[in-house]
């Protein structure tokens, strides 16, 4: 094995050392590879099972053992080559397309798998491409939006470096509103059966055990019933500059919602999407002045609603289920292509139990949702509303009809 590592110019002299350092390298990436001693051991076993002289088999074997989700799987090849063969570049997909069936410089046949529709549409509207998109249709959104227009079409990347503080003022009211929002959702019952003192189905196993003591007569029946389904929430907060006046209050509401219910996931986006649930959890631990730091491009920049909702569906689609209520809090002033937003919302709509759009501008006099983004979104919304006070926020799910 050591000759193999030497031949290939690997960083360390033996395979085990290389694997341990590679595992450490992967753990430090943003994809947070979950690799412990067991995985390193499995990697060694995996390498014994494949042909060590065949680089692609080695890479593939390590990938199978060390990756545990799609996000990791997508970056693994690059990380592998960066670590083991920094001098050799992987051939880009574009250059491969011109030589179908050929071999790339790593020896792998250049047959490329096709993309999912969501990947394809996202590529078609990548920032470079949709940077040239027209913005004409929003001309009719006149005086009411004038102060916001400047911020709205800012394509700057944001890159918020300051800490975002979660206001403590009126937090109690927000907590009450969050409790109200969670408790008024009625999802019906699960298909699972649980033991209960009263129910609709006989629990045979327990009944029979009890019957043994009464000579086989089931005098004391045990029951089962379907437990209540508990709703999940995904709160997607537009943290762009045009939402500056509202985002602090909405972030406070998201914080309160997370404090009141564990089945809440919170995302923030500006030019990029970020899952901030963990950050809110950490902020909760601070008794005074909870803050969120390093929100980067998910706060304070331009607005890319469609692209970020599509990323939400692509990367975190598993969180959007039949028992999930998705709440998007945004002013809808998007500079992206409407077809991306249309596709993203359609996907979210089909996956979720309800889709709510909370638009703070709706309470502004003279505002009509004529902007391209809102026109695109309206057919998919189960509720479109404004809410500026804790009381109104608490009623977001009041008498909400769920689709699943």
């Amino acid at each position: 094995m050591s000759s193999f590592t030497e031949q290939n110019g690997f960083p360390h002299s033996n395979l085990l050392e290389n694997l341990v350092v590679f595992a450490e390298y992967l753990r430090r990436t943003t994809q947070k590879f979950n690799i412990g001693p067991q995985e390193v051991q499995d990697s060694l076993l995996a390498l014994e099972a494949v042909h060590l002289g065949h680089l692609q088999e080695v890479r593939q074997a390590l990938k199978l053992v060390m990756c545990s989700n799609l996000e990791q799987e997508r970056v693994f090849d690059d990380l592998f080559f960066q670590f083991f063969l920094p001098s050799r570049k992987r051939l880009e997909a574009s250059s491969n397309k011109s030589s179908p069936g050929g071999q790339d410089e790593t020896g792998e046949k250049s047959q490329h798998t096709q993309k999912n529709p969501s990947e394809a549409i996202l590529d078609a509207h990548s920032p470079l491409v949709w940077g040239q998109a027209k913005q004409s249709d929003d001309q009719d959104s006149d005086h009411w939006a004038a102060p916001l227009l400047r911020a709205m079409f800012s394509r700057t990347q944001g890159g918020e470096t300051r800490e975002v503080e979660i206001s403590q003022q009126d937090l109690d009211e927000m907590l009450l509103a969050a409790t109200q929002l969670v408790s008024q959702v009625r999802l019906g019952r699960s298909r699972r059966w649980n033991t209960a003192s009263k129910g609709s189905r006989l629990h045979f196993r327990r009944t029979l055990r009890k019957a043994l003591h009464t000579g086989g007569d089931p005098l004391y029946p045990a029951w089962q019933r379907h437990p209540k389904r508990q709703p999940r929430f995904i709160f997607v907060l537009d943290g762009s500059r045009s939402m500056q006046s509202y985002s602090d209050q909405l972030l406070q509401f998201a914080f309160a919602l997370r404090m009141r219910c564990n089945r809440v996931e919170v995302f923030s986006f500006s030019t990029e999407l970020e899952r901030i649930t963990q950050k809110l959890e950490k902020a909760r631990g601070l008794s005074e002045r909870p803050k969120l730091s390093q929100l980067g491009r998910a706060w304070g920049g331009g607005t890319r609603i469609g692209e970020n909702l599509l990323r939400l569906e692509q990367k975190f689609g598993g969180l959007i289920r039949g028992d999930t209520i998705v709440i998007v809090a945004s002013d809808g002033l998007d500079s992206g292509a409407p077809e991306v937003l249309d596709y993203a919302l359609r996907q979210v709509y089909f996956r979720s139990a309800a889709l709510i759009w909370l638009n703070p501008l709706l309470s502004t006099n003279g505002y009509d949702p004529y902007a391209n983004c809102m026109k695109t979104a309206l057919p998919y919304l189960d509720r479109f509303c404004a809410a500026s006070t804790p009381k109104e926020l608490g009623r977001l799910t009041h008498q909400l009809r769920l689709r699943k």
Partner: protein
Amino acid sequence: MSKAAAIPPQLDTVEGIQTVLRQRNYIADLPMATALRLVMALQKPLLVEGPAGVGKTQVAKTLAEVLDTRLIRLQCYEGLDTAQALYEWNYPKQMLHIRLTENSGESVAQREAEIFSEGYLLRRPLLEAISQDRPPVLLIDEIDRTDEEFEAFLLEILAEFQVTIPELGTLKARHRPYVILTSNRSRELSDALRRRCLYLWQNYPSFEKEVEIIQAKLPGINERLAQKIAAVVAHLRELPLNKAPGVAESLDWAEALVSLHKESLDAGALEQTWGVIIKDKDDLALVEAHKARIAELVV
């Protein structure tokens, strides 16, 4: 528990696996063949994620064929519990036994031991899989459809290959089954489950691979027709469809065209057979809008 039963020597290498699977008309690329090699070598479960219709389930079926062993399938759904997945006691038989032995003079403890013995046990797929004399292929299909409780319950089985039945004690697997789990990512699976598995993402195949698959499954098909089918399907997958056609749809479509005696694709054949690959009203409308481009591909 014996760890591994004899595996045919040709399955000892990745290339050998590709060849053997090809003989069974399953075209496995390098990632899939390596995954199967590791499933056999490491005796670890394999979690295959990917869009619907890319051959995730088929790989388990083919592996069972190749290993000449039993395929035991557990189809997951919301509300699936241990009674349907693992075991259940045969209650009517137990009740009958209690009645018949009412006057036998046996103590409660004796009668309890009798009715909770293996003769009264109904084995469900998971228990069945660990009780085989020859390691079977256990397919846990669409694991993302179950709830978290069931996923947590699976952890013991996937890690230790043993099952604890309170009345009987712990039953250990005679042979470790080859476990393949599939998921369409309709919900996020737990890290605990993922860590116990090898992970493979299976996407739609490349154009070349899809042509190969069609030709392998339908040996008599005209090569040009197979290429056109693959080209149209590849184009459709790039459209923002609600239900993108998978390999299963390509094969159905190819079969439909062959059975309609179509030697080539033309506008008429497309009109006749859209329903085989497009299964959503909105998608049909979208495809109508892209008719011109599809017609170019057909020509």
